[in-house]
Structure formats: C-alpha cells, structure tokens
Symmetry: C2
Subunit: 285 residues, 2 copies
DNA sequence: TCATTATGTAGTAAATTTACTATTTTTAAA
DNA sequence: TTTAAAAATAGTAAATTTACTACATAATGA
C-alpha cells in the first residue's frame, strides 16, 4: 500500500493523456476536490457530465480499487491543507490569496521532485564531489544565485570551491581544467548557450562534468552525470521560482551525502567552521 | 465544517463515557484506524462484535452525519498528524533515506511558514518596495545568495536594485541613503553584528528599512517593517537549509505583490525582459 | 414491575460495481 | 485518399454491496 502523497498533482499531470470523459471527471475533481470527497458517484458523475461507470473507471485508472477507495485517497492527500495543483497568480488575486498560492506551488514542486528523485545520479554525483580535487559551480541568471549558495555549502568539505558568473571566466576555467577537476553546471532549461559551450569546452579536458538540469537538454548531453530535475514550470511566461527551490534542496542533499561520506570523524572540522562565526553575532539575551 | 484535528485522541478521551457497544466500536477503531477507514460498516461492526446500527450511532455521537462521513474525518485526521516531524540526518542514513528526510524537512518548513504567514507585514513591505526610488538587498553568508536572488527578481520593476556582500560597502551605502531609498536586510538569526550595524546606520537617514528575519532580534528592532520568519532550525548544529528556502519563497511573494500592484499594464514590460533572453538559448528541437 | 436506555433485526433505499451493448476512434490495407 | 476491421470508449441496465431507518427486543435501574 503506497498511497500517492498527492493525488491531485498526479491527476493534473496526466490530464492530457486522458480520454474525453475521464478528462471531464478530472476537471470536475480538480475544480472542487473537497466536495468530491463528500459526493456520491452519482453526483460526481452528474457534475462532470458523464455516466457513473465512467467515474468508476477513472478511479481505477488512478490506482484505486473503486470509487470509495479513491475518495479516501483524495481525502488523505487533501488533508495536509496544501492545494496540490499549481495555480498561477492572477491580477484578481489579493494579499489573502496569492501568498498561499505561491507557497502551495513551492510545496507542490518539492513533493513532486521528492517522488521522482534520481537517486542513482545523486549517489554518483556525491561520489564525484567527494573525490574531486577542485569543484566549480557554474550557473547564470537565477541559477547563479544557486551556484553561489552551493559554494557556501561545499567549501566546508576541504575541497577548493569556485563560482563564477562571468561566462568568459567560465570558458577559460573550463579550458584549463585537468584530472580531479569537477564542473558542476546548474541550469533549469539546460539550453543556455554560453553555459552549454563552457560544458563542451570542459568536456574536452580530463575534468568530470556533473549537471543539475533538465533531462535530454543539450547541457545534459555534455555531462558525465546529470541529475534530472523535472519541475513543470512555465519559465516562458513566469519567473523561475519553484525550479531553483528544488535545485537548492538537491544541493543540500548532495552536501549531506558528502558529509556522510566523510564520516563521523569529520564532524569536528564542521564544528570549527561553525565556531568561527560565533563572535560575529550578538548573543541571545 | 471544522473537522477535529485529531479524531483518535477525542475517541480515546471519551472512552470511559461510552456505553458498552460504543466502547467496543471505539476499541476496534483505535486498534486499527487505517483499516477502519477502508472498512464497510458491516465489517467494522463484525470486527467490534456489535450490530451495524451501533456503529452508526457511534459515528453520530462523534459529530459525523453518518458512517461514510466518519470515515472521511478519520482518514483526514490520520493523514495530517503523521509526517509533521523534522528529522535530522544521521550517520546511519544511506542514499535511500537521507534525501527523503531533507526533502521532508524542506516541505515541512514551507508548510509551517505558510500557516504563520505575516500577511500584514508582507503587504506593508510590498507597499514600500513599490514606492521605493532605490532598493538595496543586504545579506551575508547564506543570506547573501538569497539577496542575490532577490536582485534578480526585483530589477524587473523599473526600480534600481543593488546587492553587496561587502560589509564596508553596506555601511557606506547605508550612511549615504536618503528619502526613497529602501534597505532590505535578510538574516536568519537577525544577530549578525555587521549587518545590524549597517541597519543602525541606515536608520539614522531618511531611508526605510525592511527586514526578513527572526522576530524580536536586534535586526528586527532596527526595522520599520519586519517580516518574521519562524523556522525552527538548529543553525548552531547544522547548516541553514530550510530557512533560506522560506526566505526565497517570501521574496517571491513580495515580487508577485509588486507585480500585482503595478497592474496589468505592466505585463508587456515583463514580457520584453523575457524576450531579451530568447537568443541566448538553444531552441527546443 | 415499570420506565428508560441500550442493542439488535429486518427491511429499504441508496450507492457502487459488473456485464454487456452501441458508438466512436484508430489502424491498416486496398 | 477510402474502406473495413479492430480497438477503445461511453453508456445502459442489472446485480451486488452498503448504509440507514423503523421497529422490536433486551438490559438496566428505580
């Protein structure tokens, strides 16, 4: 029994692959999920404009044994209070609605990412980082801030870490790379030309290339190891929001992985770094 | 409809006040709550050793309209109570456990933050940003990356935006501020000395000071408007992870708020910025 | 014993599912 | 293209399961 943590997201995702009446049912449920959990199969069928067996088939398509079981799963996934369907902010929104929408979208993205975590790629990336002699984190735009954040995390592992936002620096560093160097590219689309070019240049050296980007993208093609992030985000229309959150958490995961790899003996080292900050803060009164 | 947050606890509490057959039903449910949500009234009655109407009466006694409604409430309260606990990564963790833990922690933090969102402070911050002539985002350490991210978001609003990681630059800019300048300080603890000092300097000018930090901290005290983030994170022992995620989403919220404030006429402007990136990407094949 | 409460029986209405049929859509061949 | 066969989709009707109500019986306490 592995109940889907967020059924609505699954429905939303498969919406395009459903046939006519199934899509009608899906829309009716997405419109009023809470109500659906309290409806009978007859009233939901009426609301969707389909027959009762169609609703039943819909339920089975999504892994339920039948309608009641489906309602149960729906209620369970609704219980956390998160709206599991990404909703765009509209101009009719106000202070009471749009913050919630954005938080829900963020939570939703993390939950989806968590379900589809490419553990094998992550494990390999941890290996590579743990062994690297030097690590470069390269990103542009929003991903540059992510790269900066990564720098802040990974310098703790006694490996020299570098970030550069300047594409020319990125190219030159890529060109001068050698054995033991690791280039970590971060990009939501995986299609930013200058970044892909830098990866291409690095690829001609002995360096390893790890990327955190979209599956099948040009950047992924250039990488020895690619951590795929599947975040459905319309970056053409909106700003990247959720994708960078997922990227950050995955980098946290990698950092934790390296920490575990270093073993318990490494803890004092981390503590020393922590301690160095003590005098920079006002004490808690 | 205000469903009881934890139905099982309520049943447990009232156990002594129930009559014989109701007590039997209660025990059967407490024994196997998950199973109860999947049972029919007949099978639950059999499991409890009572008749079906007894089960029905039991349900009504606890505020449900009937057995299906009761099952729904039970399922809901079972779903919510479970995964609300942050779990630390331990050295006994492996690739199959620690990524999930970290994602869960991140999701939890966002869910908690969402429930305690300081909407009034957010609305005020949006006002101030929308009116500002210039905006400075200042943070240090992990928060520097957040500030960088903010810069990337807010320059779109036709307001000059600046970030500096250099504390000396921060001080000097704070000192030279005037009417219409907005300083936006980002800090998890709100106790970083150099940042608080910069805020103090800025406070002596005509500039407005907004901060995204912990309630009651020295930094919060210096601010005209403080957006409190309550994230329980042991930064003494671990790296800051979840707090910066919450900060990022709140900055997204602020950006969305400013966009809404600018109104629909502003959309073409945003679209133009988007378009400027088109030629930097490889086209989707 | 009587009144009151508690519990169970049986029947009914409602809801769900199954099996089957008509229709539409797709596929492949002419 | 056009046509015919195959596959899929969606609905009808009937069977089955489920939940509830009214009523009867049993238990309890005064």
């Amino acid at each position: 029994m592995t109940p889907e943590p967020n059924l609505l997201a699954v429905i939303q995702r498969q919406l395009s692959e459903l046939n006519k009446s199934e899509a009608k049912v899906a829309k009716a449920i997405l419109n009023a999920p809470e109500e659906a959990t309290r409806s009978s199969i007859a009233s939901l069928a009426a609301a969707a404009g389909v027959s009762e067996p169609s609703v039943n088939r819909f339920c089975k398509r999504f892994g339920a044994t039948g309608f009641p079981d489906f309602k149960l799963q729906l209620a369970t996934s609704l219980a956390s209070g998160v709206r599991y369907v990404s909703r765009a902010v509209e101009f009719s929104d106000d202070i009471n609605t749009f913050p919630t929408k954005l938080f829900d979208n963020a939570i939703n993205a993390l939950m989806t990412a968590k379900e589809e975590l490419p553990l094998k790629a992550i494990a390999r990336a941890v290996d590579q980082i743990a062994q690297a002699r030097r690590v470069y984190f390269f990103g542009l735009g929003t991903s540059a801030a992510v790269a900066r954040d990564a720098e802040h995390k990974f310098f703790r592992f006694n490996v020299p870490v570098f970030t550069h936002e300047d594409p020319l620096m990125q190219r030159m560093l890529a060109a001068s790379a050698g054995v033991g160097d690791l280039f970590f590219f971060i990009s939501h689309t995986g299609r930013t030309k200058v970044l892909v070019e830098a990866a291409e240049i690095a690829r001609q050296t002995e360096a390893s290339i790890v990327s955190l980007t979209a599956e099948g993208s040009p950047l992924a093609d250039k990488s020895h190891c690619c951590i795929n992030v599947k975040v459905e985000e319309d970056t053409e229309q909106y700003l990247p929001m959720t994708s960078r959150l997922v990227q950050l958490v995955i980098l946290d995961v990698l950092a934790a992985g390296v920490t575990l790899r270093r073993g318990e003996g490494f803890t004092p080292h981390l503590a020393r770094i922590k301690d160095s900050l003590k005098d920079t803060r006002f004490q808690t009164s």
